[in-house]
């Protein structure tokens, strides 16, 4: 089967990244003495064209049949070198990488120690490579459709791009309407575009696009399968309104017995709605939804003599019999655009949020300044008699960001600019207002940001450098206690309104998607991309891409850019039509398998089944692997008592010699 190994070992200097601490010549010399090694060379950059050419030439001229590249992490360049092997006519799985950079030269300073360790790493790779077997990369068809989870601006943009390219999109949104957080914004920084004006047309496009199947008020329940062939189950929650009949006229909402009595989520609880409601006027779809937790008829079984909405609806669209519906479909790619949660300001009790009614979050202020908001765009605090227009207004920056005490070390990236924007808008609405911003640093890094910040300051907004220690009530006023760190003066500042510039956090339900799609989280608990620089929209799960704030805080332009990136990644997959499936899958030696089914129990993917085979005339049960479903984790192999199921490229027979090579004392 395997011809005698002729191994080439290629030690990379990586400029001086490796050679600075590892004696590359010594490692090369050592490698050349290892059994089966025919060629051992070193070169400044193995990944460069000439570096790769070196390998290809040796394969052709020296008849190498195994290659060890001792350079950086296989997570970096394994694919590069596999490709090089393939181009030279060698099976790409005859490659083993020795990680001399990330796991040796960069983490050790002592040249002698690092070199000794490098030798062992190389010896281990050589021990393994001689036993590697050629693998076949099989291809499967890609289902030409994409699932997008989340109907905010990221999901909308990705959906439109993919649909416009001619591929089917299933867009699943949890709430009754598209729009996400962006729809709540009044204006966007730094250009002061009206948020609704730029977003609404896109929402309408989505709803009317022939390639997009929009599922609002729906949730993804289950995803099985693998890249190119995901099987998706979506629960369409009952709206108790027949969307085909509902015209969105709104009579029901006015007639509802609870009209104006339920805090409206869209207005951050400051406005009121009924139990049957449209989240906001521009909602897409413009269909009403009954809130099953509030509706009298649904919660108590009785709503007067008969529910008012039923009586009022001219289209007869109300349907209390409606049930959740499970929809199943197949897609080739998945984009996760689930967005973020706003930091819960009650976790900073020193600022009195939730305790004093004139402490607002920035998003609440955003609703107040919005023409579609609860006050019709008037910045008015209090209700009825006690209503007043605040004159002294303070913003506090970095609430819930850059703050280890609440577990958020990161910068939320948008607060500085939205604060500037809100300050500007407040000044515009209340020209006589005194607006100041308590800040640690102002980060105005984007296009037009610094200019905007400058403009707002010129408009009279004061920036005070210092993180307030607390906000408390004194009479009718709120007092902010802070130290101006530029003048080193402590100050007590009496204001009418405190606005907390709250940061962005991973969604509280982030776990659901992790479990659904096997994603990882970075330290900040946002979803982890495959590589922070080179694969910022990919994830560890093939065929699953990230867009928007689900991956980390970002502003609208960045979100849209990333959404377009995710769409493009999905499109590459869809348009190629085929995808290579994992080659390093498990396989069963049916001659020794005892059919105990441990592997079947263990496999997280249901990729192994028990089948009956004929063994010398006896019917015996053995395990068999469905290679398209196998993800190559190898958990089955470690659980197999007879060693009959083995993961290709990670067989016992390949790992044991690695252990031996590392164990031997030099």
């Amino acid at each position: 089967m395997n011809s005698k190994p002729k191994i080439g070992v290629y030690v990379c200097h990586c400029g001086i990244n490796i050679s600075k601490t590892v004696d590359v010549d010594a490692v090369t010399e050592y490698a050349s003495q290892l059994p089966g090694v025919k060629v051992a060379r070193n070169y400044s950059y193995m990944c460069s064209d000439p570096g790769q050419l070196l390998i290809k030439e040796d394969i052709k001229k020296q008849g190498l049949n195994r290659v060890v590249v001792a350079s950086c992490s296989p997570r970096m360049h394994e694919l590069t070198f596999r490709k090089a092997l393939a181009e030279a006519g060698l099976n790409p799985y005859y490659l083993e990488m020795a990680n001399l950079r990330e796991q040796c030269s960069w983490v050790h300073a002592d040249r002698e120690e690092a070199t000794a360790k490098a030798k062992k790493i190389v010896a281990s790779a050589v021990a393994k490579v001689r036993l590697l077997e050629p693998l076949e990369e099989k291809e499967v068809e890609v289902e030409p459709a994409t699932l997008i989870i989340g109907g905010g601006i990221a999901g909308i943009q990705a959906a439109l791009d993919i649909a416009n390219a001619g591929y089917k999109v299933f867009l699943v949104e949890k709430t009754p309407s598209l729009g996400g957080k962006m729809s709540k914004l009044d204006k966007t920084f730094p250009t002061l575009d009206c948020s609704a004006c730029i977003l609404t047309p896109k929402m309408v496009d989505v709803a009317s696009h022939p390639n997009i199947e929009l599922m609002t008020y729906s949730q993804v329940e289950e995803v099985t399968g693998y890249v190119g062939n995901f099987q998706v189950k979506v629960r369409k929650k009952a709206r108790f309104v027949d969307v085909d009949k509902c015209t969105g006229c709104g009579i029901c909402g006015e007639e509802c017995r609870l009209a104006g009595r339920i805090p409206n989520e869209f207005d951050e609880g400051m406005g009121k709605r009924g139990a049957i409601y449209l989240p906001f006027p521009q909602a897409v779809p413009a269909k009403y939804t009954i809130d099953p937790e509030r509706c009298l008829f649904l919660t108590r079984g009785k709503c007067g003599k008969s529910p008012k909405c039923v009586d009022a609806c001219p289209a007869g669209a109300i349907d209390f019999e409606q049930k959740d519906e499970i929809v199943e479909f197949k897609v080739g790619a998945i984009i996760v655009a689930t967005g973020y949660d706003v930091f819960d300001a009650t976790r900073k009790p020193e600022y009195g949020y939730g305790q004093y009614k004139n402490v607002l979050t920035a998003l609440e202020l955003e609703r107040l300044v919005s023409a579609s908001g609860p006050t019709g765009g008037q910045v008015v605090l209090g209700e009825g008699e006690s209503a007043f227009v605040p004159k002294e207004i303070a913003f506090i920056q970095c609430v819930g960001s850059r703050d280890k005490s609440v577990g958020n070390e990161y910068c939320s990236r948008v607060c500085c600019m939205y604060t500037a924007k809100l300050a500007h808008l407040v000044k515009e609405k209340i020209p006589e207002a005194n607006v100041r911003v308590y800040y640690m640093d102002v980060r105005a890094f984007g296009k037009g940001f610094e200019e905007f910040y400058d403009r707002v300051r010129r408009e009279g907004v004061r920036y005070i450098r210092g993180n307030p220690s607390e906000a408390f009530k004194r009479g009718d006023k709120l007092v902010i206690k802070a130290e101006d760190t530029l003048t080193a003066k402590t100050l007590e500042d009496e204001v009418d309104l405190v606005v907390l510039s709250v940061g962005l956090e991973p969604r509280k339900d982030a776990r659901e998607i992790i479990d659904l799609l096997r994603l990882s989280q970075s330290a900040d608990k946002f979803y982890l991309e495959a590589h922070p620089k080179l694969a910022p929209v990919d994830t560890a799960t093939d065929g699953v891409y990230l867009a928007g704030c689900a991956q980390g805080p970002k502003d609208i332009p960045d979100t849209v850019a990333q959404a377009k990136g995710a769409a493009s990644s999905a499109l590459i997959l869809l348009s190629s039509g085929k995808v290579k499936v994992q080659a390093q899958v498990s396989s069963v030696d049916e001659a020794t398998c005892r059919g105990c089914g441990y592997c079947v129990e263990i496999c997280p993917y249901g990729a192994i089944e028990l089948v009956t085979v004929n063994r010398f005339g006896h019917k015996v049960t053995v395990a068999r692997v469905n290679e398209a479903l196998c993800k190559g984790c190898g958990a089955c192999a470690a659980g197999c008592l007879s060693g009959s199921i083995q993961q290709k490229s990670f067989k016992d027979s390949q790992i044991l010699p690695q252990i031996a090579a590392l164990g031997v004392k030099q």
Binding site: V107, I121, S124, D515, C633, A638, Q658
Partner: protein, 143 residues
């Protein structure tokens, strides 16, 4: 123990979390002892507990298995199997008198480069305390 003793540690790391975490430690130039050498597997679920027995036989003074935090396994469940298997082999090895300071398992995520350093330092330090483990080595017995 003599000051010269440098324990030899064999570590099995999953590709997605701990190996990536070790890579991150490298990218971040975090320095740690060179005693530990890594064998990459796709998932800690691949680590047959008998690898640990074999590593001791082949000359390891300590062994580490490191994978994703519970719930974060790239393959959903592999680290749970690994944990159960490891807990059993650890009990058994300790029972026959192998110093538990030689047998470690850790959760290190792809973002925990700093934790990786801490883990390596601890594993190396404990193996160093436990001293050279020659009693179980193949070591050319009766050659």
């Amino acid at each position: 123990m003599s000051e010269k003793f440098e324990p030899n540690i064999v570590a099995f790391l999953c590709n997605w979390c701990s190996y990536a975490g070790a890579d991150l430690a490298g990218t971040s130039r975090i320095q740690y002892p060179a005693n530990l050498k890594i064998i990459r597997v796709m998932c800690t679920g691949r680590v047959n507990p008998l690898f640990i027995v074999n590593a001791f036989q082949q000359g390891a003074d300590g062994v580490l298995v490191s994978g994703c935090h519970p719930g974060d396994c790239h393959y959903m469940e592999g680290n749970y199997y690994a944990r159960r298997r490891f807990s059993l082999i650890r009990e058994l090895l300790e029972y026959i008198g192998i110093d538990p300071r030689r047998i470690h398992m850790s959760w290190v995520s792809a973002s925990e480069g700093a934790k990786w350093k801490d883990v390596v330092e601890k594993v190396v330090a404990e193996a160093r305390e436990a001293g050279p483990f020659d009693q179980f080595r193949r070591n050319k017995i009766n050659w």
